[in-house]
């Protein structure tokens, strides 16, 4: 078993990374960040925090590998099917009233959430009118997202999710499959742009009718959550929608007064006025 990283050691690592590479993890939730460092050390056969610090100071490629590892990029298509169903029932009819619909997926990882959204929009007849901006901190995930390659072994689960989400078509009509991957049809993807955006440091870049930021807040502490909520508020059109992850709450934030809940269970909110 690898020795527990102490709180002081964690702070040392975080400030080393900030100084050397400009990535600021100081407002990330402590318990899971610690766990990620710990897991990475196991994975990379690093015996202790001193060795880890030394490697980080000397080897930028090693840092890139670690950054990959600690920014969790786990994701799914139609994850939480009932969330998508609610989106379709409560939000899409309102979005349909706009001539152009702008959507931001913040923290899109390898894109599965975005691909789910375009299928939903396609079935609602809205995809044509949408501009979709999908961003993440992690450049390697974004490269994968652009290729829209989805491990074939996951497609069975995703088909299940799609049906539970109220999908109306044959799910396999949205992709072509080779031995290992399903590729989402490029025609469906033509209104998506993927690019790097760091929620900690980067600014508002457009105005949106809907922002999806699911399962990213759980990695942030309260101060950072508040800051990013302000960024989202400023990036939303009046009455624009914000969707968070199923277990992410606004209840513990001061910013909550500027939003109202559209579905408290599925964590869909709306900017007041």
């Amino acid at each position: 078993m690898i020795k527990e990283i102490s709180n002081e050691e964690l702070e040392t690592l975080v400030s080393l990374i900030h100084r050397q590479y400009g990535y600021d993890f100081s407002d990330y939730a402590r318990s899971s960040l610690k766990r990620r460092f710990q897991r990475f050390m196991g994975y990379a056969y690093i015996g202790g925090v001193n060795e880890l610090s030394d490697r980080l100071l000397q080897d930028a490629t090693f840092f890139e590998r670690m950054a990959q590892f600690i920014t969790v990029n786990v994701t799914e298509m139609f994850r939480d099917p009932l969330f998508y169903k609610t989106l379709k029932d409560l939000v899409l009819p309102r979005l349909a009233t706009y001539p152009t619909i702008k959507i931001w997926h913040a923290g899109c990882a390898t894109g599965e959430e975005v691909f789910s959204m375009i299928i939903l929009l396609q079935e609602a007849g809205l995809l044509e009118r949408c501009r979709i901006y999908a961003t993440d901190l992690n450049a390697v995930s974004l490269l994968k997202a652009e290729k829209a390659l989805i491990p074939l072994k996951c497609m069975k689960d995703y088909t299940q999710n799609y049906l539970q989400a109220g999908g109306m078509e044959d799910f396999s009509s949205y992709y072509t499959a080779d031995d290992e991957h399903a590729v989402i049809h490029s025609a469906l993807r033509r209104n998506i742009v993927f690019f790097q955006h760091n929620l900690v440091t980067d600014q508002v870049f457009n105005e949106f009718q809907l922002i999806c930021c699911r399962n990213v807040f759980i990695y942030f502490n309260r101060q950072l959550q508040d800051r990013v909520l302000r960024l989202f508020y400023d990036s939303l059109a009046p009455l624009g929608y914000l969707a968070l992850g199923l277990k992410e709450s606004m209840m513990f934030s001061e910013e909550s007064i500027r939003f109202e809940a559209v579905s408290a269970v599925h964590k869909i909110f709306r900017r007041k006025s």
């Binding site: 078993m1 527990e4 709180n7 939730a29 402590r30 318990s31 899971s32 766990r35 990620r36 897991r39 969790v72 786990v74 994850r79 939480d80 099917p81 009932l82 689960d157 299940q160 999710n161 539970q164 399962n215 807040f217 759980i218 309260r222 959550q225 992850g245 199923l246 277990k247 992410e248 709450s249 209840m251 513990f252």
Partner: protein
Amino acid sequence: MQIPSPYDMIAIGGSAGSLPVLAELLEQLPVSIDCTMMIIVHRLKNVPSDLDRLLSLKAPITEPEDKQPVLSRRIYLAPQNYHLLIETDGTFALDYSEPLHYSRPSIDVSFASVAAAYGPRALGILLSGASKDGAAGMQQIIAAGGTGIVQDPASALFDTMPLAALELCPEAQPMSITDMVHFLTELKMSAEHDQ
């Protein structure tokens, strides 16, 4: 003389075959132990679960959300598809990193964070299960000065989990369900003795 309840956190983990045991434990449990209880059981993902409803019949149970404060005299259930952690500032933190032992929530993950947050004031309990999840976490609870209890393997529907824990943690005490209820009731009585 004051004998305060020795634990602030009772963390219970289980997998296959643990539900009936858990229901029995909750049913017989003194409701008002002055500490927090946290349950981590392996569940299917993206399937609306009857588990919380089933357990809620016995006692009010909540699935915590991220950053929710951890309160005493409450029972919390780890939500499906997330790891459940505790921050040192006394709030819950959820984590969506990869499953451990094919499980998310993983008992090891929660137990490790309970060990770090509560030290000697943590009690870990492992029930029936066909997985080794939880053993390493229990080792961490015990190493931090906490206490470990394991369902007596002979009475467990699946003994892999209790056996793995006993093998890794010789200090953990095997107990029958009746003994566990007894142990927990004693906690309550010594706590009541205070008042």
